[in-house]
């Protein structure tokens, strides 16, 4: 009992001491807890501390708002030279930047150090659905677009919606305004609607469906990746079914735009160490992420290309003018 008391006392002293110095290193997750950005921040921050890459625990701050826009504006206007700050980003960030949804701010206002993994897109139906392949689904939409409702976690015109439109377009269905899409508060919520029969197809990320897949409640029609995902080899890609659609949700970070090159390099190095760690490999496997290591200048170039690609696609489909 005395030992317990000492432990609690020690822990409390430690907590008080640390909270005094809590302003050290910070990771901003530009959304509420529970989503992809939050996962990225928390997992990477924990690994960094566990491996001793940073001396004290990293403070994770949730700054939800405007689909990441509030955090982006905050970093650009108020924290532009803060070298101890990194912010979780993903394809959703790129999509919003591409569609000009951050109120005129663009990707050059921040720096892009690394992406660590990628969450391949998936199209999912309930286990009792009559459709076995992607073409079954596309044919059903062609026959009667009003009979198929798609459910996803992003807003209309967002990344989850684009995945559906891309797949249908490759399948020869062009009347995108006839496609029914409902946006829910996240992938799990969208899946619930599909399993309950209120919508027919869920569009989202692999990590969002892993639990339901293992429980046998859903069937993945196609994974929108170049190759089949390790650990889920029995799920066919869209490509091998004849639909040339690749849509991965990469998970990475951005940094304030005004930091020194030395600080930028330090972050690239830190994130590289995380990417190589066993702990990250485990976290990826547990969450259905595929490796997607891109660092430094490579990643900067790649992000710009990715944004351009999404912009072109959004224009082609008509989401933006």
């Amino acid at each position: 009992m005395k030992k317990t008391l000492t432990r609690v006392a020690a822990a409390l002293t430690l907590a008080v001491g640390l909270s005094g110095a809590a302003s050290a290193t910070e990771c901003i997750a530009p959304a509420n807890p529970g989503g992809g950005w939050d996962f990225t921040c928390r997992t990477v921050s924990k690994i960094m501390f566990d491996l001793g890459i940073v001396p004290e625990p990293i403070q994770v701050t949730n700054m939800a708002g405007a689909g990441g826009g509030l955090a982006f504006a905050h970093v650009v206007t108020e924290r532009n030279t803060d070298e101890d700050l990194f912010v979780a980003a993903s394809s959703a960030t790129a999509t919003r930047l591409a569609q000009g949804a951050y109120g005129g701010m663009n990707a050059d206002m921040v720096r892009w150090p690394a992406s660590l993994g990628a969450d391949p897109g998936v199209l999912v139906v309930a286990a009792d659905s009559p459709w076995k392949s992607l073409s079954d689904m596309v044919e059903a939409v062609k026959a009667d677009p009003a009979s198929v409702t798609f459910a996803g976690g992003s807003a209309a015109g967002g990344f989850d919606h684009l995945k559906v439109l891309m797949a249908l377009r490759r399948g020869g269905f062009d009347d995108i305004r006839a496609v029914k899409y409902i946006s829910l508060d996240g992938g799990a919520d969208a899946l619930t609607q599909v399993i309950g029969g209120h919508a027919q197809v869920m569009t989202g990320d692999m990590s969002e469906v892993v639990g339901f897949l293992k429980a046998g409640k859903v069937r993945v029609l196609a994974v929108l990746n170049e190759d089949r995902v390790p650990g889920f080899e029995d799920i066919p890609t869209a490509k091998e079914q004849g639909f040339d659609v690749v849509a991965v949700n990469w998970r990475g970070f951005y940094l304030p735009g005004g930091i020194s090159d030395a600080a930028y390099d330090k972050w690239v190095e830190r994130l590289m160490k995380v990417a190589e760690s066993d702990a990250w490999a485990e976290a990826m496997a547990a969450n259905g992420l595929a490796p997607f290591p891109k660092f430094g200048a490579d990643f900067e170039t790649w992000v710009r290309g990715n944004i351009e690609e999404i912009r072109a696609l959004s224009k082609e489909i008509g989401v933006i003018q």
Partner: protein
């Protein structure tokens, strides 16, 4: 028996002198956080997550600490509701309606003890429900599509009429104001800004915490400035603190019914605890023989919402654990905690990680007993707050509200907004416009609109889809009944005691 052996597994994981200490610490911190206006269970858990990591706690210990904070905050919210007429957090909103009048009658201690017991009953039975029924209940979430959700929210607003005793138009107006406020921000389904004037601070809408603190806490300050602090001790007389066995026995059935309603409201992802306590209160008011004394300090009006919101807190864990769908702000934070601990909630959690699930359930039971034991002696301490003179107490409440909102959002904009809500709250009090429906509108408006629009997408604009399932029709019938019943009853009562009782001018 299977459940017993599972529970034994849970307790073997979660029960040790160290975790018991954590539970005590967590319950205490949670109660304080819940009682402070501006800080609720979700920020409480979010604030203390770093603490769990800096202490280097393992998964189970972290869960025990966080669930204690969660339940502690759920218990704590009622304290400021009853003593100050300021809800400590949004689920405690309904407790102000009868809790504060009770306190003004010198029964603050009774109200606190009674609500503590009601909280325990609600939370304890909900935990049992979670234990026995979670995998089964997960199926309930599948039954609720867009039309069913819309009908559920319609039910909540239809029963508002029963809440306001005087001017129906003013209650309706308040609800519409809340709904209107909920439309500010980025439109969820098209991503287009609405009523933001291009201001980034408004893109994410107006936080209900800002509205609650402004409408209840800041406006209270204005009332006191106007009165020069007359009626000190916030108008509450101190009474002796005893256990009000009679009230507890009398409201026993209320607690049980409220628990059932709250638990199911919690199971449905959406509004969680607030909807649970609201529906529990209006249902209790509708069926109670002394229903018209609700709002004037009826002990059942204290017991029902407290049992309801705590049961909903337990119910909200069902979709979080079994589907990975967080039904409320707090469960979203708990979900984040689990994921940082490398536990991914979902349909396989119960079979793959039984030690986590049952450890959590054991932790909930522990937290509940700790809270019950802690709360009765603590009531004496809390009631002392009322002997603080108004000139000290009200600045304190204001400064706590400011610090709470500011330390979370870090934005002066929210603070100005809070002051504006304070001024509006003061004016509305003068004009006898109830403020509770405003908060409900803000809380539920977004969900309500989203489900209506989803329903219209699915049906291609066909309104009959809203009444297309037995569940939806059942909820609509309840909504219509809930809307008409109070009018009918009021007509009856009026006829019986013809000249209407003059309400006091306060």
């Amino acid at each position: 028996m299977d459940i017993l052996s599972n529970l034994a597994l849970g307790f073997s994981v979660a029960l040790s002198p160290f975790t018991l200490m954590l539970a005590v610490v967590g319950c205490f911190l949670g109660t304080i956080i819940g009682a402070l206006p501006g800080l609720g269970p979700s920020n409480g858990v979010a604030i203390l997550i770093p603490l769990a990591f800096t202490m280097g706690l393992d998964a189970t210990a972290a869960l025990v600490l966080m669930t204690s904070v969660y339940y502690g905050a759920m218990y704590g919210g009622r304290i400021s509701s009853i003593l100050l007429n300021i809800p400590g957090d949004e689920p405690a909103l309904m407790t102000t309606l009868d809790g504060y009048p009770m306190a003004r009658q010198g029964r603050a201690g009774d109200a606190l003890v009674l609500s503590g017991v009601a909280s325990f009953v609600g939370a304890f039975l909900a935990t049992i429900g979670l234990m026995l029924l979670a995998p089964l209940l997960a199926e309930v979430a599948f039954l609720f599509g867009p039309p069913e959700y819309f009908a559920l929210y319609a039910l909540a607003f239809a029963t508002l009429g029963g809440l306001a005793s005087r001017n129906q138009a003013k209650a309706a107006l308040a609800a519409f104001i809340g709904l209107g406020i909920s439309t500010i921000g980025l439109d969820n389904s098209t991503g287009m800004p609405r009523y933001t004037g291009g201001n980034l601070h408004l893109m994410d809408g107006i936080d209900f915490l800002v509205a609650i603190v402004g409408l209840f806490a800041v406006s209270e300050v204005f009332v006191f400035i106007e009165r020069h602090g007359v009626g000190s001790a916030v108008g509450v007389r101190l009474g002796r603190v005893t256990v009000p066995f009679r009230d507890i026995l009398h409201s026993g059935w209320s607690m049980l019914r409220a628990t059932v309603i709250g638990f199911f409201a919690g199971v449905l992802p959406g509004a969680g605890a607030s909807l649970g306590s609201f529906l529990a209160y209006t249902a209790e008011k509708a069926i109670a023989r002394d229903g018209d004394s609700f709002g004037t300090g009826n002990p059942k009006g204290v017991a029902a919402p407290e049992a309801g919101n705590n049961a909903a807190a337990g119910g909200a864990l069902v979709p979080m654990l079994t589907l990975g769908v967080p039904g409320s702000g707090t469960t979203a934070v708990l979900l984040a905690l689990l994921m940082t601990l490398n536990i991914t909630p979902g349909p396989t959690l119960f079979t793959e990680r039984p030690e986590v699930v049952w450890g959590l359930i054991a932790a909930l039971l522990i937290a509940n007993f700790v809270l019950l034991v802690m709360n009765v002696p603590m009531v004496k301490l809390f009631v002392r707050i009322l002997s603080v003179p108004a000139g000290v107490l009200l600045p304190m409440v204001t400064m706590v509200s400011f610090a709470g909102i500011y330390s979370i959002s870090g934005s002066w904009f929210d603070l100005i907004l809070m002051v504006a809500f304070g001024v509006v709250g003061w004016l509305f009090r003068k004009l006898d416009v109830p403020t509770v429906p405003i908060i409900l509108g803000i809380l539920l408006g977004g969900h309500m609109e989203a489900s209506l629009r989803r329903a219209m997408v699915v049906s291609g604009g066909d309104w009959t889809y809203l009444f297309s399932s037995p569940i939806a029709v059942g909820l609509w019938i309840a909504a219509v009944a809930g809307f008409i019943a109070p009018m009918f009853l009021r007509g009856l009562i009026r006829r019986r005691e013809a000249p209407e009782v003059v309400t006091d001018g306060d």
